[in-house]
C-alpha cells in the first residue's frame, strides 16, 4: 500500500500535480495528444532515415547504429535519473521521516525509474522499428509482403532494450556519482567539457540532418559514397552488444544474440542486487551530495568597487553551478557552431525552395532563435536569488544598479556569443563583412531588448522555488513567456528581411503609388534596423518604467 502511495507521490511531483481534477484531465489529454504527435513525427523521420541508408544497402547497419545511440542515450538518462531519484537528498530526507521502510521508498522510486525508461523506449524506439519494417519489408497494411516475425519480435527486443540499460545504470550510478562529485568543483573544466560534448553532438546531428535534407531533395541517389559505406559496415560489426538487439529482430545469428542478451541481463541483475544490498544504504547515509560538492578555496581579503563586486558575485553564482553554467555559458559557447550548421542547412533548404534572396533573412532568423534561447536565462534573474532575495533589499546599493549589473553580465555573454557567431558566418563566407556587421548590430539590439523584457517579466512575477542546492527547480512562466516572445520577434524580423529582400530582387513597385514606390534592398535594411531599434527602445522604456517601485513590491 505504501509503495503505491509513494509511487503516486513521485509521479505527482514530476508532473507538478497540484492542479485541480479538471485540470488533470486536460493535462492527461494534452500528454496523450503530444505523445501521439511525437510518435508519428519519429516514425516519419525514422522512415526517411532508413530509406536513406537502404538506398546504400546498409539498412541493417543503420538499425545497429540506431540501437547503439539509443542504448547510450538510455544508459545516460538512466544513470542521471538514478542518481537524482535514488541517491540525492531532497525528498529522501522527508520520506525517511514517515513511517515507511527504506525498502518501500527504494521500490517505489525504482518503479518510477522503470516507468520512465519504458515510456521513453516505447515512444522513441518503437516508431523507429516500425519505420524500419516498412522500409525493409514493405507496407504494414500489406499483409502478404510484411514480415510477421519481425513485428512479433519487437516486444522482445524492446524488453532487452529497457532491462539492460536500466540495470547498467543502477550499477554505474554510484561510481559516476563519486567521479562527478570529485570533478564537480572544476567548473572551468566542466564548462569546456560540456561545451565540447554539446558542440560535437550537435555537429553530428546536423551532419546527419544535412544528409537527410540532401536525400529529401533527390531520393534517386545515395548520399553515402563507397568508402563511407565501407566504414559504416565495418564499424557496425563491432558494435557489441547493441548489434545483437538488431540481430534478434531480423533473425540473424540468433544462437549468439539470445544467449548474449540473456546472459548480460542475468549478470547485470546480479550486479545490481549486490550494489543495492551493499552500497545503497551506505551511500545514502554518507550524504555524498553536500560533502562531495563543497570546496575550499583560500583567498585574501580584497576590496573591489561596488559594480565589480556585484558582477563578481553574480558570475560566481552562475559559474559555480553546473546547471546554470550549462543553461547559459555552455549554450553560449556552442551557439556559433549551432548557428553555422543551422544556417548552412536552412540556406540550402530555403534557396532551393524559394531563392537566394531569402538567405540573409534565414541567417537572421537562425541567429535570433539562438539568441532567444541564450537570453531566456535572464528570465530567472530575480527568482534565482531565492532565499537570498532579502540581500538585494537590505544592501545599500540602489535596485537599479544591482539589476544593471545582472544585465551587464548578460550583455557581455550575448555580445560575445553574437559576435563570435557573426565572425564564424563571415569567416565561412556565409555572409559578407558589412552585412555581417549589420546583422550583428540588429541581433544584438534585439538581444538587449529580449534580455530586458525577460528580466522585467521575472521582476513582475518571480518564482522563488529553489531546490536544496539553491537553484531554480523548473524554468518558470517568465522563461516560457520570454522564449515565446523571442521566437515571435525572430519570426517577424526574419520574415520581414526575407520578404523585403525577395521583393527588392525584382524591384517590386507598390501598386497605386505616385511617384512609384520601389522596394529596394536599402529599404529592407532600413525597415529591419528600425524594427530592431524600436523593439530595443520599447524594451528599455518598459523595463525602466516604475522599476524600483515594482521591485520593492516583491515580498519574499
Amino acid at each position: 500500500m505504501n509503495i503505491k502511495t509513494l509511487l503516486k507521490l513521485e509521479l505527482k511531483n514530476r508532473m507538478s500535480g497540484n492542479s485541480s481534477k479538471g485540470n488533470s484531465w486536460w493535462k492527461a489529454i494534452f500528454y496523450i495528444i503530444f505523445a501521439a504527435v511525437a510518435v508519428y513525427a519519429i516514425y516519419a523521420v525514422g522512415k526517411l532515415f532508413f530509406e536513406m541508408f537502404a538506398k546504400a544497402n546498409i539498412a541493417y547497419e543503420a538499425l545497429v547504429i540506431l540501437y547503439t545511440v539509443f542504448f547510450l542515450f538510455m544508459t545516460f538518462i538512466g544513470t542521471s535519473s538514478t542518481i537524482k531519484v535514488l541517491y540525492y537528498k531532497g525528498d529522501n530526507e522527508i520520506l525517511m521521516r514517515y513511517p515507511v521502510s527504506g525498502d518501500e521508498v527504494f521500490i517505489s522510486k525504482t518503479l518510477f525509474l522503470i516507468i520512465t525508461q519504458v515510456a521513453l523506449t516505447i515512444i522513441i524506439i518503437v516508431p523507429f522499428l516500425f519505420a524500419y519494417g516498412e522500409v525493409v519489408y514493405g507496407k504494414i497494411t500489406n499483409i502478404y509482403s510484411m514480415n510477421i516475425d519481425f513485428y512479433n519480435i519487437i516486444p522482445a527486443s524492446v524488453f532487452f532494450l529497457i532491462v539492460i540499460p536500466f540495470l547498467l545504470s543502477n550499477i554505474l550510478a554510484i561510481p559516476i556519482m563519486h567521479v562527478t562529485n570529485r570533478i564537480r568543483n572544476k567548473f572551468a573544466l566542466i564548462i569546456i567539457g560540456l561545451a565540447i560534448c554539446v558542440t560535437l553532438m550537435f555537429a553530428a546531428y546536423m551532419l546527419l540532418f544535412d544528409k537527410m535534407v540532401t536525400f529529401m531533395n533527390d531520393k534517386e541517389f545515395s548520399v553515402f559514397d563507397e568508402s563511407l559505406v565501407q566504414i559504416i559496415v565495418e564499424v557496425a560489426q563491432y558494435l557489441i552488444p547493441t548489434k545483437y538487439f538488431a540481430d534478434i529482430l531480423i533473425g540473424h545469428e540468433l544462437y549468439i544474440a539470445y544467449p548474449v542478451l540473456v546472459g548480460m541481463s542475468g549478470i547485470l541483475l546480479a550486479g545490481t542486487i549486490v550494489v543495492i544490498i551493499k552500497l545503497y544504504p551506505k551511500t545514502l547515509l554518507n550524504n555524498v551530495e553536500v560533502e562531495g560538492s563543497a570546496f575550499r578555496r583560500v583567498t585574501k581579503n580584497r576590496r573591489r568597487p561596488i559594480f565589480m563586486t556585484l558582477l563578481h558575485k553574480e558570475f560566481l553564482q552562475v559559474f559555480r553551478s553546473v546547471n546554470y553554467s550549462f543553461q547559459y555559458f555552455v549554450l553560449a559557447c556552442a551557439m556559433p557552431v549551432m548557428v553555422y550548421f543551422c544556417n548552412n542547412i536552412t540556406m540550402q533548404l530555403g534557396a532551393n525552395q524559394i531563392g537566394e534572396q531569402i538567405a540573409l533573412g534565414m541567417t537572421m532568423l537562425v541567429m535570433l532563435i539562438f539568441a532567444t534561447v541564450i537570453t531566456s536565462f535572464s528570465a530567472t534573474s530575480t527568482s534565482r536569488e531565492g532565499d537570498n532575495f532579502y540581500h538585494t533589499k537590505v544592501a545599500p546599493v540602489s535596485i537599479r544598479k544591482q539589476l544593471f549589473v545582472k544585465f551587464f553580465m548578460y550583455l557581455i555573454v550575448s555580445v560575445l556569443a553574437n559576435g563570435i557567431c557573426t565572425g564564424v558566418l563571415i569567416f565561412t563566407k556565409q555572409v559578407e563583412i558589412l552585412v555581417g556587421l549589420w546583422l550583428f548590430a540588429v541581433v544584438e539590439a534585439i538581444s538587449i531588448g529580449l534580455t530586458l523584457t525577460s528580466m522585467r517579466f521575472d521582476i513582475k512575477r518571480p518564482y522563488f522555488n529553489l531546490s536544496g542546492e539553491g537553484e531554480v527547480v523548473n524554468n518558470n512562466a517568465s522563461t516560457t513567456l520570454s522564449v515565446a516572445m523571442g521566437f515571435l520577434v525572430a519570426i517577424v524580423e526574419g520574415v520581414l528581411c526575407m520578404f523585403l529582400s525577395y521583393l527588392a530582387a525584382d524591384n517590386f513597385v507598390i501598386p497605386g503609388t505616385d511617384p512609384e514606390f520601389v522596394i529596394t534592398q536599402e529599404l529592407m535594411y532600413i525597415v529591419c534596423t528600425a524594427f530592431a531599434a524600436i523593439f530595443m527602445i520599447g524594451s528599455i522604456l518598459n523595463y525602466s518604467f516604475r522599476l524600483t517601485k515594482t521591485y520593492n513590491k516583491i515580498a519574499k
Binding site: 553536500v290 560533502e291 560538492s293 563543497a294 570546496f295 575550499r296 578555496r297 583560500v298 583567498t299 581579503n301 580584497r302 576590496r303 573591489r304 568597487p305 561596488i306 563586486t309 556585484l310 563578481h312 558575485k313 560566481l316 553564482q317 559555480r320 553551478s321 531565492g386 532565499d387 537570498n388 532579502y390 540581500h391 533589499k393 537590505v394 544592501a395 545599500p396 546599493v397 540602489s398 542546492e469 539553491g470 520593492n552 513590491k553 515580498a555
Partner: protein, 256 residues
C-alpha cells in the same frame, strides 16, 4: 538612532493591518528587545525597517535618514541578521564577507582588522575559506553576523538570532551584542526567549496583533523579574483567560 513613527503595514490581499500605529524610539548604546507571540508583527516590523518590505504609512528613520526617502544612507548605518540564516551558499565565507564589505564601502584596513577579530571570536578560522554550503546551521548564523558587523553599523538588527543555536554560540553572540553597545551603537532584536531578553536588554517592547502594547525599562526595579508575568498577561488570548479561570475553579473545588 532608530525612530519608528505611526507605522502601518498591510499585506496585499489582506484585510487587516499586520502592524498598526507602531511608535518606537531607540537610543544610542542600548540593547532593545522586541517581544511578541508568533504572528504578532515582529518580523514584519523588522522587514519594514530594513527596507525588505514597503510599508503602508508612517515613517522610519535610521540615524536621521528616512528608509523610504534616503534608503542608501539609512542602510549604510544598519547591519541586519535575518531569521533564516540565508547566505550565498556557493561563495566561501571570506568571499561572502568581502562582498558585503564592498557594498558597505569598508576600507581594506578596517575589513582586515574586523574580519580577523570576528572570525577568531566566532571560531570560524578553519571554515572561513570553505564554501558556505558545507556550513552547519550555527556556522551560517555566525557568518551572517560577521557580514552584518563588518561595517561596524550604528544600528544592528537581528531577527530571532538565537533560534537553533547551541549554548556556546548564544554566549558568543550575546557577548558581541554587549561589546557593540559599549561602543555607543544600538542593538535591536526580536526574540521568544524571555529569560535571555530580561538578562541582556535595557528596554523591551511587547507587540500583540500588530499593535505596540508597552515599552518596559528593565533598569526600573522589579520590571526584570516581572517581565514574564507582564508578557503573559499582555499576550494572553480570551481563551487563555477562560482556561486559567477553569483551572483555578477546579483547584478550588478539589481543595473544598
Amino acid at each position: 538612532m532608530l525612530e519608528i513613527s505611526h507605522l502601518y503595514k498591510k499585506y496585499m490581499n489582506s484585510e487587516r493591518f499586520s502592524v498598526e500605529d507602531l511608535n518606537l524610539s531607540l537610543k544610542p548604546g542600548e540593547i532593545f528587545g522586541f517581544l511578541g507571540q508568533n504572528g504578532a508583527g515582529k518580523s514584519t516590523t523588522i522587514k519594514c525597517l530594513t527596507g525588505i518590505y514597503p510599508y503602508t504609512s508612517g515613517s522610519i528613520t535610521i540615524c536621521g535618514y528616512d528608509i523610504a526617502k534616503d534608503p542608501i544612507n539609512a542602510k549604510l548605518n544598519m547591519g541586519y541578521v535575518p531569521d533564516n540564516h540565508s547566505v550565498y551558499e556557493k561563495l566561501t565565507g571570506r568571499e561572502y564577507v568581502n562582498y558585503t564589505a564592498d557594498l558597505y564601502k569598508v576600507s581594506k584596513r578596517d575589513r582586515n582588522e574586523r574580519f580577523e577579530k570576528y572570525v577568531n571570536q566566532f571560531k570560524l578560522t578553519k571554515a572561513v575559506d570553505s564554501q558556505i554550503k558545507s556550513y552547519s546551521h550555527g556556522m551560517k548564523q555566525k557568518i551572517c553576523i560577521i557580514a552584518a558587523l563588518i561595517h561596524n553599523p550604528k544600528l544592528w538588527v537581528l531577527d530571532e538570532p538565537m533560534m537553533g543555536l547551541d549554548h556556546q554560540s548564544m554566549v558568543e553572540i550575546l557577548k558581541r551584542m554587549d561589546e557593540h553597545c559599549a561602543d555607543g551603537n544600538t542593538v535591536f532584536f526580536s526574540s521568544h526567549n524571555l529569560d535571555l531578553v530580561s538578562k541582556i536588554c535595557d528596554r523591551v517592547a511587547i507587540i500583540k496583533d500588530g499593535r505596540l502594547q508597552c515599552v518596559i525599562d528593565l533598569h526600573v526595579k522589579g520590571n526584570k523579574e516581572a517581565l514574564e508575568t507582564t508578557f503573559c498577561q499582555i499576550t494572553a488570548t480570551e481563551q487563555d483567560i477562560i482556561n486559567e479561570q477553569n483551572t483555578l475553579r477546579r483547584n478550588i473545588i478539589i481543595n473544598d
